[in-house]
Amino acid sequence: MDDLWNALHNTYNSASGREVDLSELDPLPTLKERDWPPFSALELTDALASCSSRSSPGPDHIMWVHLKVILESHKAIQILLDLANACIRVGHWPKHFKDSISVIIPKPGKPSYSTPKSFKPIVLLNTIGKLIEKMISNRLQFNMIKFDLVHPNQVGGVRQRSTEDAGLFLTHLVRTGWAKGKKTSVVALDIAQFFPSLNHAMLLAILRKQGFSSVVTKFFASYLVDRFTAYMWGLFRSGPRQADIRVGQGSALSPVLSALYIAPVMKLYHMNPVSLKMSLLSFVDDGTVAAQSKSLDENIETLKEAYTLLLSLFVALGLVLEHSKTEYFIFDRSHSDYSPPLDLGYAPYTSDNPLKPNLYWRYLGFYFDRKLLFHEHVRFYSTKALSSVKAMKMLGSSTRGLPPREKRLLYRSCVLPIATYGYRLWFFDGARCKKALSSLKTMQRKAAIWITGAFSTSPTGGVESLAGLIPVHLHLQKMAGRANY
């Protein structure tokens, strides 16, 4: 058993001792230091209201439901506020909040589970500590948007920016390129063990650069060190171990801190002359470089140049790119299926084994195809929605179980958003999407029959209107109309 804990511990702390180069940040301007006003009671209740009552409790066994009841009293709220404000003011994070349990969960869909890398640690922290972290994270989010700390092309871990924005940016780029007669090639990068690799010294330097108050930097210096975690695998549990180099996955601060960590890479990249020819897009740890030109061969040269530049930036930040997971894809609407292989120059994709584009490219949950038809994407999501409609059948039949009103609510709130994920990429004025719509129609028909309890051969339009559902194409039109402003 000890061997297992050691193997896990070493994998998740593999980044310790990695060199970082703080001078790399010098070209960036240092922002003016901003104040950090004390937390208000509203911030605390807001942070608490957004917590799921079902999430797993940490080592203190207190669930959010319990905390919500406790914090009905003003006295308790005041105690927590005093504690949170004192933590920032004094620059100290109590030891009790630093203890955690890392539950080892298998990553779904791996062919083999023989290495620790096919498992991810989810950190369970003490509930009060988590609440304060949430409040801090909300503040940081606000700062990020208000003071423009992140590049517009950086999506993920940032409020008001979703994966759909990233997808739209990419499709827009490709389509405008086509209009100018340019073809687009993209390379997607993968950062190995992103969350555990964030370097503390670097993070503090970045926070200082970004104009956070010195008390906040001091607080984070205390927050990040001397952390202990116990690993848990099924019902087995190890003793506490020191886990310094990492922002734990599962803590509310980890997405924000990682977004702030990546921000300088984006800014430094856009200061480099290479960026004039290429666009860089990043979503937490998924980066994408897109090159555009009249010929695909020309794209390859620019891509290689950008890849080398990014690699040097990431290494300076103590991050490691996993070359084996790098993907390459071509957007081209001509009839030719010419796709030159990309010789990345890093193992395993060298001249003997160059990188070749696949039929589909899965990025942020979108299935991109060469001609941006999105048939595969819609097929995937309507199948997913259909399977959930079928699973919902066990919730009620025409005689027993849920009443139709609830069934409709369930369908509208839980199934439709899944089925229409990323619709803005393929549904717009003048788009040809007859094929995509037909598979969504089938799915909605099944749901309408389940809601009304009608016979299986009833006409689609009739059941839909009885169930109070808008036909799919009109529903999409409505949503697209609302999205434009």
Binding site: H61, I79, L83
Partner: protein, 237 residues
């Protein structure tokens, strides 16, 4: 362990030199931390019904190397009966107590949980904060909070044993009726127990459905019910 046939059944300590196959078997066993133990009364273990064939030794017994000194292996010709193999018996040392996996928990929606929440409600506001100007002060308040949580938890949680037979719908009534049946051994009490189980199941699943549909609105949770059963992470490897 049914292993090999000898030409001679004069099994002595010298036979290992005679038979290469056995030596290789012993080596393989040694890789697995096992050791061959000779019966205390050596002799043939296979006597064919065909009287023309000679008896032979084809059954071998292996033990863990650490245990082999303590354990005794015996050949019991009296227990052979009509079979052609002679049974071998041995003693294996077991750990005195086999522990189940236990952990402390509070059942959701139980009286214990209500008392737990009530105690927290009075306990947390009673903490004295005072001035918070040094790291030690912060540690003190955080520790006070932690102490309240852990004492209340210890007071109300109880040890539960986790087995693969644990059912989510099982409730206290089922337990009492099952123990009643175990003492009385009457058919009526068995029927009463079955009725309660059925009612408990129906109550549990109805409340789950209501929960999912009206309260948290995630029918994705239900996918677990229809999906292919997955092995727990530690068994899947």
């Amino acid at each position: 362990m049914n292993c090999l046939r000898f030409n001679t059944w004069a099994v002595t300590l010298t036979f290992t030199q005679e038979c290469g196959t056995l030596t290789s078997h012993i080596e393989i066993a040694a890789d697995l931390d096992l050791e061959w133990t000779q019966p205390s009364n050596p002799g043939p273990t296979f006597i064919s019904h065909n009287e023309d064939l000679r008896p032979s030794v084809i059954d071998l017994m292996f033990h863990q190397i650490s245990d082999s000194a303590r354990s005794r292996t015996n050949r019991d010709p009296d227990w052979k009966g009509p079979a052609d193999h002679i049974p071998l018996t041995t003693s294996v040392i077991l750990d005195s107590v086999i522990k189940g996996v236990t952990r402390r928990s509070i059942t959701r929606g139980s009286d214990a949980e209500k008392a737990f929440i009530n105690n927290l409600r009075t306990g947390v506001p009673a903490i004295t904060v005072g001035t918070l100007n040094t790291p030690a002060d912060i540690d003190r308040v955080a520790q006070a909070l932690a102490d309240v949580f852990s004492t209340v938890w210890d007071e109300h949680s109880k040890e539960v044993c986790i087995t693969k037979h644990s059912q989510p719908w099982w409730d206290d009534e089922c337990t009492s009726l099952l123990s009643q049946y175990k003492t009385e051994k009457l058919e009526e009490s068995w029927l009463a127990f079955r009725r309660t189980v059925k009612a408990a199941k129906r109550k549990f699943f109805d409340s789950r459905i209501e929960d999912i549909a009206l309260l948290n609105k995630c029918p994705w949770d239900l996918m677990e019910w229809v999906k292919q059963r997955k092995l727990p992470a530690c068994e899947a490897i």
